[in-house]
Amino acid sequence: MNIVVCIKRVPQTADAQVRVDSSGKDIEKERLTFDLNESDAYALEQAVLFKEQSGGTITAVSVGHPDTEDTLRMVLAKGADTAIRIKAEDFDELDGYKTAQILKTVIEKAEFDMIFTGCMATDDGYYQVGVNLAQLLGIPHATLVSSIEIGDGAARIKRELEGGLLEHDEISLPALFSVQTGINVPRYASLIAIRKAAKKEIAAVGQDDIDKDALVLNTQIEELFVPPVTKRAEIFSGTPEEVSGKLADMLNEKGLI
């Protein structure tokens, strides 16, 4: 099984203060930590599990700026065999579709049975690149995948639907799977793997290899802003004892406890 994994380096914003920068179209990045996108870590692990099961190679691909090499190196240490950075700095503004077009030009040259992506990136939240890419490559896809069993020329997958329901499908290979978090438990990298990864070449692909003019940009961010407050909770203030007292009284009055 030869597998391609698409990954993205993203700012870790869940616990961070996120501020709009002076352009109004991007965020201040200096004080943020960047790391592998959450669901991409699961996509990588799924690839490594299949490689352990049935051999083959894993190629990690990312459209990113130079520091994406650090993330690709981590991905190499956790089980990818080769890594390709597509130089984001060569392609001006990007959106999900343009990213997919760029990925397509690189991945179509590779031999693969499966492509794994995370189901979404936590920075722009598009849920789009994987499906765009599958369509551009002319292969079937499945999104929100929470389980995969590989059979002969086809895979049995479960997708997560709303309400905790699962959809059980069969999909022919080659195919693209955009995976949900929780599909597996991502692994650590061993020191041996880390030392090997530190020495590996990361291939770089840029505008010399991809026809920039053929790429289409569908969407552009016009403005970033703090979401308007439509409804706001009534905040109880005071010490934990005081706020608990107020809250308990309120619940009691409403007959909720």
Partner: protein, 396 residues
């Protein structure tokens, strides 16, 4: 360690060299006598097997965190993050091997590749993002002092009071910083705080293995000290103390650092502070590793407690001073998710309570948080207090 394979196949000189480069100390001097494991705070926990006496040899053979099996590797990395850096083993080792330095070397290699526990990643991230492990905004760093009229540090003031992230932000531990400021004000000491210019000292994350973020915050602090012509820093956390005293000099900065217990002890001796209210309780003192064993400050905090009228000072028999048992919060332990029955602090809390004390006294915000929470979770309602809090009750 993968036992299924021939050991000779697993020897990896490259990893040995990388560990040496990252500061693993004394790996060739070990003859596996086991004294380290006997004194390690994990030993009495009993439910977790932590044979650290094997570590120097494993490091010499380059056989650390090297399993190819996912689950075995996870267990190995969990092991590397069990060391709480108390350095009890360092004191005991007949060859003076620094076992925590070997763990730290391994951690540095792992952290560079994001191959370490998620919970610690989030701690490192918060320190990078907002300069404290709590994840609270910088602007709130001096909220603890809001109603106390604590001045902003200005050149010419005698001390910068550096209040540690935990005592600056934690709703419970804040009262330690408040007690310190109150006592200093009463004694007429010239001091100020740096408010949001202060960052975490970086001691814990350096021991977690994040050299990059440690350097980031250490440089932010030293340049803030230089900008404000700080010559003397007063700290209430032994972790800030050991970081400023033993790590920051590598950065080529010069300032004096004093732990609050030393200064309070001096102020009491000189008569600048007069503890006059009775604190009629039996108080057992717990030596924080970073203050006692690592920096030889044993008597100053005891002097503070002894000066308080009515206070009866108790010791944990056999396990005091250099033989104090760690609370388990060092080197990232404060944030780790170990099972309840696998907690070092449980051992220490039992020892402390068995003395018959009414109050547990500490001189460290990490110990305070760890021992208090653990005592509570074990169903004990014994108060855990910082020496500054006890002194404040007696002299303010």
């Amino acid at each position: 360690m993968n036992k299924k394979k021939n050991i000779a196949d697993q020897i990896n000189p490259e990893i040995r060299d990388a560990l040496l480069e990252m500061g693993a100390d004394g790996i060739y001097r070990c003859y596996q006598c086991g004294k380290c494991a006997g004194t390690c705070p994990w030993f009495p926990v009993g439910t977790y097997d932590f044979p650290i006496f094997r570590l120097p040899l494993e490091a010499a053979l380059g056989m650390i965190a090297s399993s190819e099996d996912k689950d075995e590797l996870a267990a190995e990395i969990d092991k590397i993050y069990r060391c709480v850096g108390c350095e009890a083993c360092v004191d005991q080792c007949p060859h003076g091997i620094n076992i925590p330095s070997i763990f730290r070397a391994g951690r540095r290699l792992l952290v560079d590749f994001g191959s370490y526990p998620e919970i610690l990643k989030s701690t490192v991230r918060k320190i990078h993002d907002v300069g404290n492990p709590v994840g609270e905004p910088r602007e709130k760093r001096s909220d603890w002092a809001r109603d106390l009229n604590v001045p902003v540090f200005e050149p010419g003031m005698e001390f910068l009071y550096f209040s540690c992230c935990i005592s600056s932000y934690d709703p419970r531990v804040k009262s330690v910083a408040r007690a310190v400021a109150g006592i200093l004000q009463k004694a007429g000491i010239s001091f100020g705080i740096l408010q949001s210019e202060e960052s975490c000292c970086g001691e814990a994350i350096r021991r977690i293995g994040s050299e990059t973020v440690y350097e980031e915050v250490a440089k932010a602090n030293t340049s803030a000290f230089e900008r404000n012509s700080v010559a003397k820093v007063l700290v209430n956390s032994p972790h800030c103390y050991t970081s400023f005293k033993n790590d920051y000099p590598e950065l080529g900065v010069k300032f004096d650092v004093l732990h609050i217990s030393e200064h309070l002890s001096d102020l009491i001796e000189s008569g600048a502070i007069k503890p006059d209210k009775e604190f009629a309780k039996k108080v057992v003192y717990h030596d924080p590793c970073a203050l006692g064993r690592q920096n030889d400050i044993y008597e100053a905090p005891r002097n503070v407690l002894r000066s308080i009228p009515g206070l009866e000072l108790l010791e944990v028999e056999n396990f005091n001073h250099g033989l104090s048992v760690c609370c388990g919060a060092g080197s990232g332990g404060l944030w780790m998710e170990w099972d309840k029955d696998e907690r070092i602090a449980g051992v220490r809390v039992t020892q402390l309570i068995d003395t018959g004390a009414d109050v547990i006294a500490v001189a460290c915000p990490y110990c305070l948080q760890m021992l208090e929470e653990t005592a509570k979770s074990m169903g004990h309602d014994i108060p855990v207090m910082d020496i500054a809090e006890i002194l404040a009750e007696s002299c303010l």
